[in-house]
Symmetry: D2
Subunit: 408 residues, 4 copies
């Protein structure tokens, strides 16, 4: 064992400057072997170049993986079964990717005999919590190294100096001329923080947004889509069967082209502060709207209400990093069980930033036109039943009022 | 007392054909005196003509009232403090008007010595429940007459025949050529049900919508608005002080002009069936978005989450007709208390059906740029604290994993 | 088909006077065939005598069944996995038996080709709701006949007169000298309502209680028990394997002998009124206490809290008659899934009406003495982690206080 | 300012050995002035002797206060309005005292110009969290010194050695022959942890319990009590007006004499571990039972259920140390508002460890004997209403069943 107590560490490695510096720093500070793990989760950048960069730093065990299908199928889709929104608006695009990364870090640690993991998340954000809670839940004795909480490289200048001093590839330094925003992307969204966004009164500049055209620039004709659901998941679009990741790619494209999915909000972080973030979530915005629509005809009322009452807690669990917890798993089982009959088709209209439901149908529909009709229902429903229904529901209110407890 | 046991009944009277027939039918069937009550709650039709129509049927006590300010101030605004949505989407435009009508029916009954109230809601819908639960809660001994649950005039033909046979004004019959939809309107929304909407797969025709232009027909330039909040309520728009009803009228106009607020959904009625409804809620759509934004910088995280967890229940209470209940009142007190610091300004962009928040500011803001910043925070936040935070939050997960309870 | 529209009805038949009158009344009023169904669910009375009584009234299809094991295994035990209490105190002894009766009524109706079911519950209580919601959920087209809501035999005198006029067995009339209380019993409890209990200030007389001795009369020596749990259910007592019904019989005996399980309360009925009831639930009282104890060492904290938060809703569902609903089923799946590791042994002390937990152990225990110890823990827990944990949990409070929002 | 950055610290000082060592250690390590604060919150020990001990260590500012009434009135009583139980059983006796201590520490710091506070809670427990969250919420810039998380005096031997080396009074050392349990006491309870209790299978020895006789040793005759409630609080016992602290003292005496209030459980700490504790809470046990009883006749059903659903969260807030948080305050306002009509009298029977309600009455009672009666109710309730009530509540279940979704 090295003097640091760490022999081998698996690093979540993006191939970018920051995590390259971390890869070097870990070797220097901890005198340990570094294994890099780079995943394609739909961030829209090539991951293969990370191999050469890692090699150049002397890394011997390099994991590069395409996790897009797993991410869509086992993380994003289950979350959307719950109509999940954090604080009424946020579709949890960053949050939902972290548990998958945490899981793979741990699995690779187990495969490679590593005793530690490391990541490039700062000490102020939610991501450190998500990575680490996941890692501890999956490998309780793991050592976690979070360089941003340890080192003193707390400015861009110091980082650049470190890179130069340690022969980290010049190519990285070019990347240094980066966006004024801190960004994160995967199949579900791209996020922007920092820069002028730190003033919640400042409107983001149009050129910040990368995945969607502005509603103003979107086509003047609406786009119609038909989404086919099985057990709460989209399995086909316009009759074309698609895998989960294909569904998301397709909807990101169509949604983005129609200016859909931009969000600008101030959210409450788990670590206790408010922060301002902007998000583009084209597919997710479409999926949330459509999922509620297919549920509206296939779910029992009380099941739907139970889901709605539990959703904020479920959303907080994911936001706060508790994907790998027994309480999230338990809620997930209930949510999944509720989707047994959530089958059918939703028809949507996309137009200049807006998504409208214009039709929904299902062999499992609980909508009963014979009962709901304003026309004569041929006795399907006895209107006289309503009197007793109201009278007994009113009874406690009448007793209270009669005893002098006026609600007026 | 008349043989029917009813001496005098206060009728919620719109001035339209159906409630005119009811006014006559009550006199004939119950041999009782009828008092009419007609309110302007922003439905966009003159209420004064109801006076002549009532007189023509021999009504002596006629109440015609402008309740728009009371409706906006005491019903709509309190509801929006909770970010209320029924089943994730419905802004409760019809539901929130009923308790006010119920209250006035009861007050007029008390003033006029009436022992009964009556309304024109059918036996299949939620409105009967809302009227009657309110009436019973406010006047527990009141007799409620719901003609649609009693009579056999269950087709348009029978109604028209009754009108002719009972000399109900020809003018009403002209109104018979009415919209294919059942509609309801007030300051908050206009709703459409019935007709082709009884097929949830059918897209409503463009000419159904009355309050908003289509997004396609909306201006090509966005409209920006600044809403000023005090204790969770909008008190000014673009610096111009406005009363609650003025706020709503203004936002209905601007929102509708920009194609904002259309909604098409299938909802679960309290009486047990699913029904399809279309709604236009321009002001409400803007208000919900903006209220969440002002809360995002002024509310404590846990208070916001508590509100979110209770919101579905609060929404169901209103939807189901329990405005005048002790549990709604209790929740309202809590919601209202939470709004003490919800002061500030929200800047919005309206464009072709979409509402975006582009800025929010407040003297009460809890957003702290010094702490949230990605830049050096000069010690406002100690990143090392995060380690302990994560470690203890992970402790139960680590103990469980160490004892063989793998989450993987 | 008979003129009444009912050909054959399955009656929940106790063999007592009231349901015997109903059996006759159904034949006379509905001119239909009556099938009787009598179940032993642990009420402590012979069910076989019901056969002769039914035959004497000309009943041809007579179902008499011992459902004790099914009742304990599929209804009582699942409910106790949730630590279910209605309104903080009531163990739902009556409520939990109704869904089983409803299910068997419907199954027998299906087997015998009956188109209706009938029961002897009054129109004021919860039991009618429980029977009928169950029946409708399981056989949506079933006709329900609730004689107490239809007939005018609304006093004991009228009932007796009817019995005499219709040759209902003299033996029943002897039973007429019945307890001043309305009682209901099954393996889980015996309940008392009516009589002097209708005054909530009146203490029940000692001789009302039937299943337990008074604490005063209980033995002067405590009784110790060891209950073995598997997946949240008791499978052995003092090392002796027992079936669910055996567990309940045994604990009723031991509990009752020790004066355990008496309860006197005013509860809120689903139909809108408050009512006073007294209950003896010896086994249930012991089981609740013990189940919480075994969960205390085997359940994750957040899972336990989630269960506690959902319990009141789950209890209300059962109390209100929604056992056979999709929302109860969904909650049950979650509750059951939570019990996977709820294995181990609880040691109890029973003494003069009290149940105390004096020990609990489990191979699945999450209690970790090394971490919890007040002694030196050899580094199992780093006390310094607590500082960061507290600091970040306090952050939102500190920011708010610093901005002038004093909590003082 | 001293080199340590701390000039003056207010210490929660019990007068015992541990906090005396802390008082000395703070002076030595932080080179700062120490202010001691000792409160009588009903722990049953004289507080005045703390003065001499503090003086002997050179403390100049010594605060000794009798906070019993404030504790009972502003902390215990409000908590009992919610029928608060943590994890179904624990009456929160330790938790509820901490916010008061935190508040006084901060107030004294403000009065004396101190910049820090200190306490003797360990780094493994909940109390550090409760003290510190309170302090940070009330004085966001305060410095907190928690010696147990800092020093290396982590065994009794080291502490004793320190005491001797620093001339801490011999008298303290005698106290060193202390109970094998870690104890905490106040008006609400006395708690025991550690020692043999660290084995959850071990039954505590009889001589551990200090406040109550064993049920076996309690009188053979029951004791009856009548508690008078106003707005949810007890204001008189057996007709004798009493202050909150008097109520608690009285009920502790009578309850303890009757063997009431012992509890042995394993609980989940906020810091992530399970721990075993034993508690004696005589007054609290009586108060919980009685409060539910008075609520049972005076609270609306849905208000009661809302309280029950929120109670677990409210209990967790107090247990976790969030008394001084906006969310606890908001919930408290709602709870308090619910108690407006919770007035009346509850009659209790205490016997050998058990508390039974034997009567409850109130001028505000919602119990209506005319409606609830099994006898003829003279038309107060129309049993026929129940049919419609059931039919519409069943509608969604029937539609689902008719569409093939069997619940069976």
């Amino acid at each position: 064992m090295s003097q640091s107590g760490v022999n081998k560490v698996v690093l979540a490695y993006s191939g970018g400057l920051d995590t390259s510096i971390i890869a070097r720093w870990l070797q220097d500070e901890y005198h340990c072997e570094v294994v890099t793990f780079t995943a394609d989760i739909g961030q829209g950048e090539e991951v293969e170049p990370a191999r050469a960069k890692a090699k150049a730093m002397g890394i011997k065990q390099i994991y590069i993986e395409d996790l897009r299908e797993e991410f869509a199928r086992d993380y994003v889709f289950p979350m959307f079964r719950a109509n999940t929104l954090y604080e009424g608006e946020y579709l949890l695009g960053t949050s939902i990717a972290r548990p998958l990364i945490a899981k793979r870090l741990v699995e690779i640690a187990n495969q490679t005999g590593a005793d530690a993991i490391s990541h490039g998340a700062t000490g102020k954000g939610n991501d450190q919590v998500r990575f680490e809670l996941g890692a501890y839940a999956l490998k309780p004795g793991v050592k976690v190294i979070a360089p941003w909480r340890e080192w003193d490289l707390n400015s861009r200048e110091k980082l650049m100096a470190y890179a130069e001093a340690h022969d980290i590839d010049v190519d990285f330094k070019k990347q240094g001329k980066k966006s004024p925003y801190s960004m994160d992307a995967n199949l579900l969204h791209i996020s922007y923080e920092g820069g002028i966004l730190e003033d919640p009164w400042a409107e983001p500049e149009e050129d910040m947004w990368r995945w969607s055209v502005s509603p103003e620039a979107a086509p003047d004709q609406p786009t119609y889509l038909e989404l086919t659901y099985e057990k709460g998941d989209i399995v086909a679009i316009d009759g074309q069967a698609m895998s989960p990741a294909e569904v998301m790619s397709y909807l990101n494209k169509v949604g983005g082209d129609n200016g859909i999915g931009r969000l600008d909000l101030v959210e409450n972080r788990y670590v206790g502060m408010k922060s301002r973030g902007c998000y583009e979530t084209p597919a997710g915005t479409v999926m949330l709207k459509a999922h509620r629509a297919i549920e509206s005809i296939t779910l029992d009322r009380e099941v739907a209400h139970l889901k709605d009452e539990l959703m904020p807690k479920y959303a907080s669990l994911i936001y706060n990093g508790y994907w790998w917890s027994p309480e999230r798993k338990l809620l997930q089982q209930m949510i999944d069980a509720s989707q047994e009959r959530v089958n059918g088709v939703v028809r949507l209209k996309l137009y200049k930033g807006g998504v409208s439901v214009v039709g929904r149908k299902s062999d499992e529909s609980l909508f009963d036109a014979n009962i709901a009709t304003f026309e004569d229902d041929a006795g399907a429903y006895d209107q006289k039943d309503a009197e007793g229904f109201i009278k007994l529901n009113a009874l406690r209110l009448r007793i209270a009022a009669a005893k002098g407890r006026s609600m007026g």
